[in-house]
């Protein structure tokens, strides 16, 4: 637990503004537009921020916490004057010179307090506020800290709004009512609590006999349900098993994987266990499906994924004895490697990570790969992007021929369908199934398919999932922005025939509701986003499903030239011609 009165630390050049900017940078850099952002601040994150963003590579956890508290308490707390300590938050949320909200240190502290809650404590102010008071250093009294009022509501809204303007998906949400109306904000951001980390570490130790510590994240994710079953009917088991919000589940798996990579096998006292903040980390990779020509010849290339919170810097991979520099292809991904992949075995390449503490790139040995369309519309190629495919989204399945029989069973029982016959590839023993689609929700009725358990787990629709996708219209690739006069249509994918749609304008005064009504799922529905502005789209289905998305419609005159990552030019004898520009002239 944090101490009530942390010792003063040498402040040096570290200021509230730098911590504020560093927190924003840590959570939003290198994130694909449209991705959900969880401000999941915990101790390892604060240490990582201080080490990588604030120029203190040798920082200790204690040092990072002390500095964070010092900055926090100086910003939001008045010194005790007779009546005791109280918060002095800005009346209106402010922003810095680059438009970032200035409340991020405070919001991080709110999430940190949720992280310190006990494992079995439920969503109540009684459990939360003592932790928040501890973090803020306000020891006297109980309940909501004095001076907080409902200022936190405006601060969280400001953060959500800012994320929206950056094309990112806010996830902090207010509770419906009752005692967790406002504390739901930080609780919705905290993925796993400190006690969850400790319980997980204990679980891994107890299950050591069935665990392989070399598992990569995909392998770990595949085994997690089996491990979570050992936790019994606990809140943590529910968290780890709940896939109704796929993106939140993925973030939780990521957090749990950080625990998995920590040295839990060396721990003697699990009550003091903390997750290793940094360490050798593998670069994950998927596959990029590249059509060599229009004759159906395809090649699969290794498609490295940029690690979360990666800061731009030199990363190179060793291929056949030569170092190949990784170039960012889009937020969250590097360019596919030039060498075609050898399917059917786990691939491990050396990585020269510079300061990034990355030392290998791993392509898991998977008996199948699922290729989906480019979610950003940059290309017409397919790749193993993490778009969920369990709710009717078409995909191409590349599978070992050993899976042909289980796949035929799934097809015969109408769980899965595809177009035409499986297409043999140039890769011996692998076939492609085109235009695949999951056709039934009740995958609990799938018979035992020995050898295909992983495939069934991957394709099995999660109960209660709601997903909304925006299609069509005219957008600027990768910016989550549509152009005036060409708004997108919405497609709701859920295991319910209809969903309630509500579109709110965030820009106009007066009645913010611009569209409301019941819409059929799994069909394209037009959105009435006539005017430029910011909109929030909310979907609810019975009994409990909900999803939301921020959409910006931009005026044509607001468009600005975008970066050209791969410029083409015409080669002349002594220079290159690009448009009207002669480049490389001596």
């Amino acid at each position: 637990m944090p101490t009530a009165n942390p010792p003063a630390v040498a402040t040096g050049p570290v200021t509230h503004a730098r911590w504020n900017a560093a927190i924003v940078d840590y959570f939003t850099r290198n994130v694909q537009p449209g991705s959900p952002i969880y401000l999941s601040v915990d101790e390892k994150v604060l240490l990582a921020i201080r080490r990588t963003r604030l120029g203190r590579p040798d920082s200790t956890l204690k040092g990072a916490l002390n500095e964070f508290w010092w900055v926090l308490r100086n910003w939001c707390r008045t010194p005790p004057q007779g009546g005791g300590e109280r918060l002095t938050l800005p009346v209106k949320p402010t922003h810095d010179s680059e438009g970032r909200p200035t409340c991020m240190v405070f919001l991080a502290a709110m999430v940190l307090a949720a992280y310190y809650m006990q494992e079995d404590e439920d969503h109540s102010g009684q459990a939360y506020f003592p932790q928040l008071r501890d973090v803020l250093g306000i020891v006297e009294g109980n309940g909501r800290p004095p001076g907080l009022g409902h200022a936190d509501d405006a601060l969280w809204q400001r953060w959500n709004r800012w994320l929206g303007t950056r094309g990112l998906q806010p996830t902090a949400r207010r509770g419906e009512s009752g005692s967790w109306k406002y504390i739901e904000y930080p609780l919705s951001q905290c993925l796993l609590r400190r006690t969850d980390h400790q319980r997980l570490a204990r679980l891994f130790r107890n299950a050591e006999a069935i665990i392989d510590r070399a598992w990569d994240r995909d392998q770990f994710a595949a085994h997690l349900p089996m491990l979570a079953q050992r936790l019994g009917a606990t809140r943590l088991a529910g968290l780890l098993l709940d896939t109704s919000e796929p993106q939140r589940h993925e973030a939780i798996v990521y957090d749990a994987y950080d625990v998995f990579r920590s040295p839990w096998h060396e721990v003697e006292d699990f009550d003091t266990f903390t997750v290793a903040p940094l360490g050798p980390r593998s670069l994950e990779a998927g596959l990029y499906r590249w059509e060599k020509d229009r004759r159906g010849n395809v090649e699969y290339l290794i498609y490295p994924r940029a690690p979360r919170s990666w800061q731009e810097g030199g990363l190179s991979v060793e291929i056949d004895g030569r170092w190949h520099c990784l170039k960012p292809e889009r937020p969250g991904w590097f360019d596919p490697l030039p060498k075609p992949v050898c399917l059917g075995k786990r691939l491990c390449l050396n990585v020269n990570g510079g300061s990034q503490e990355l030392n290998q790139l791993i392509l898991p040995d998977s008996p199948f790969w699922i290729f989906v369309q480019d979610p950003d519309g940059f290309t017409d190629d397919l790749a193993t992007w993490p778009t969920p495919c369990q709710d009717g989204e078409p995909f191409v399945l590349l599978a070992r021929n050993e899976l042909a029989k289980p796949l035929a069973t799934l097809q015969a029982q109408e769980f899965l369908r595809w177009q035409g016959d499986p297409v043999a590839t140039d890769y011996d023993g692998w076939s492609e199934y085109h235009d695949c689609q999951v056709c039934r929700f009740d995958w609990e009725a799938v018979p035992d398919l020995p050898g295909a358990e992983g495939l069934v787990r991957k394709l099995r629709p999660a109960g209660g999932t709601v997903r909304l996708s925006l299609e069509g219209g005219l957008s600027v690739s990768g910016h989550n922005v549509w152009l005036e006069g060409f708004p997108p249509a919405i497609c709701v994918r859920a295991d319910a025939p209809t969903a309630r749609l509500r579109v709110l304008s965030l820009s106009q005064n007066g009645n913010p509701v611009v569209q409301e009504g019941e819409v059929p799922t799994h069909s394209l529905q037009p959105l009435q986003l006539a005017a430029a502005g910011d909109y929030s789209i909310e979907i609810t289905t019975k009994p409990r499903g909900q999803a939301s998305r921020f959409v910006r419609v931009m005026r044509w005159d607001q468009l600005e030239p975008g970066p050209v990552l791969r410029p083409f030019d015409t080669r002349l004898e002594d220079c290159r011609l690009r448009g009207a520009c002669l480049l490389g002239l001596q």
Binding site: A233, T521, W556, L559
Partner: protein, 490 residues
């Protein structure tokens, strides 16, 4: 993971029990391991009771995926406790009674009602193929065949037109009519703004967006449009034509008037506003026929070094001076240009056509032997595949070298005309106060050379019946280009 059925006796009606239990299951995030509930048939009555109805004593069975019996019971107890507390909050009371031992699905010790109470999908009957279980087909995305990006930008002509004499065509003085269309011009401008913002993309995406904006309506008109944007220096294309990228924003001096410049490359209204604070910018000039985005002119006056001014004002625009003249000095002769084209290896096509006298005609002498194309030199269109996945490949067969070359269609047609010894004339004249180069439409120059003509003025050629008129092209520029291409300048 084994599946268990765990049970508690209930004395309430099925629906309120299900509602509270469902609420508890979702609150606890257990829906993945506790997907459904069943009820046994009533115990305290001999009468026939409709499934799910009445307040008779029943056993509630929950299906639980759990590693052990004990854990399955733990799930049940937790859910019942939370369901009870939800019921109490709503002013009701759930009466849970004794429990049975957890059993496997096929060994439930009591008769159960046929209703399956699913926590995510609602209530249905066993063996019932409900439509709500089915994932409806995903809405079809509109797909169109965007064809070979290097294919013909000209609509195919079913008849075989007789080619007019190109020399006679260019002799009369041209009629310069702009025929601007304000609406189309606005759409062209929007397309360029979008291309500038997107930065790069595929040919397919270009066709989709252009069709959406109404600047083209099929792949043929889209090919023409992309070519015009390349001529104006706004975009570049990859060698195979499958990708494009926007070019840097730059100011290019008019060849005929060094005090004025026009804008090439990426555009934005915001940048235009900033530039207007430096130099005067008259209203945009429409392109002939509104075939492209309007020309943005800048009056730079006698500024000694406009590049320095742009830099000093922090404007992200390059100063390229007289780009056309600089380019012409570096252009290769036609033979060298041919050497720079993309060479491709071939497989035998299903059908072959060759461009002859202004139209494609079937060519039966063309062969591909061991990957090597053979046949008369010329511009070809090769057809591959069956009806389901057909595609075309356009290119130039150099019979002397057995090479199949890919590139700008007009350029390949020009090459074919030259190889066939057809006359390739051009005429330069001063007319209506402007210096004009006139070309026969059927002898349009390769893209790279034509770009030099367009960059002289920032204006696309005016089409005057079967000829093209390039405005404000200085004689020296025209004659150098004609020499490089082996064109007779009249």
């Amino acid at each position: 993971v084994p599946i268990w059925y765990v049970s508690r006796l209930v004395r309430n009606a099925c629906q309120p029990v299900f509602d509270r239990v469902q609420e508890a299951v979702h609150f606890l995030n257990f829906a993945q391991c506790v997907p459904l509930a069943r009820f046994s048939t009533p115990r305290d009555t001999q009468r026939k009771v409709e499934a799910g109805k009445g307040t008779h004593q029943r056993y509630l069975f929950l299906r639980v995926d759990a590693a052990t019996r004990e854990q399955a019971v733990e799930f049940l107890d937790t859910i019942c406790r939370v369901a009870n507390s939800f019921a109490r909050s709503a002013g009701a009371e759930l009466k849970f009674g004794d429990r049975l031992l957890p059993v496997n699905p096929d060994s439930i010790p009591l008769p159960v009602e046929p209703l399956i109470w699913h926590f995510s999908r609602g209530v249905h009957t066993k063996h019932d193929k409900q439509s709500s279980w089915r994932v409806p087909p995903s809405p079809r995305r509109q797909e169109e065949n965007t064809g070979d990006p290097l294919g013909s930008p000209e609509p195919s002509t079913p008849s075989s037109p007789q080619e007019a004499d190109p020399v006679a065509l260019i002799k009369p003085a041209p009629t310069l009519v702009f025929r601007a269309n304000g609406d189309l011009q606005g759409r062209q401008q929007r397309l360029l703004l979008w291309l500038s913002a997107a930065g790069q993309g595929s040919w397919d995406r270009f066709v989709r967006v252009s069709n959406q904006l109404g600047t083209s309506h099929d792949s043929i008109t889209a090919r023409r449009l992309l070519r015009r944007l390349i001529l104006l220096g706004h975009v570049e294309s990859s060698l195979d034509g499958h990708h494009w990228s926007a070019t840097p924003a730059a100011l290019v001096q008019l060849a005929a008037d060094p005090t004025r410049a026009f804008w090439c490359g990426q555009r934005s209204e915001l940048l235009r506003c900033r530039l207007r604070q430096v130099w005067q910018m008259p209203l945009p000039d429409p392109q002939a026929g509104s075939d492209g985005p309007p020309r943005w002119l800048v009056n730079c006056g006698e500024a000694r070094d406009p590049g320095v001014v742009l830099k000093a004002r922090g404007l992200p625009l390059r100063w390229e001076g007289t780009a056309a003249e600089n380019l012409v000095r570096r252009l290769p002769a036609l033979d060298r240009w041919r050497d720079s084209l993309l060479r491709v290896s071939l497989t035998p096509p299903e059908r072959v056509q060759r461009w002859q006298a202004g139209a494609y005609r079937d060519e039966i002498t063309f062969r591909v032997i061991a990957g090597c194309p053979q046949g008369p030199t010329g511009l070809y269109r090769l057809f591959y595949g069956d009806d389901r996945s057909s595609f075309e490949l356009t290119g130039f067969l150099d019979a002397g070298r057995n090479e199949f070359l890919r590139g700008d269609w007009y350029g390949l047609r020009f090459l074919a005309s030259r190889q066939s010894g057809l006359p390739c004339p051009a005429r330069w004249l001063a007319h209506e106060g402007r210096s004009i180069l006139v070309l026969p439409l059927s002898r349009r120059w390769p893209l790279l050379y034509e770009r030099a003509l367009v960059l002289a003025s920032g204006l696309l050629p005016i089409q005057d019946s079967d000829r093209l008129c390039y405005l404000d092209v200085p004689f020296d520029l025209a004659s150098t280009l004609a020499r490089l291409l082996g064109v007779t300048l009249l």
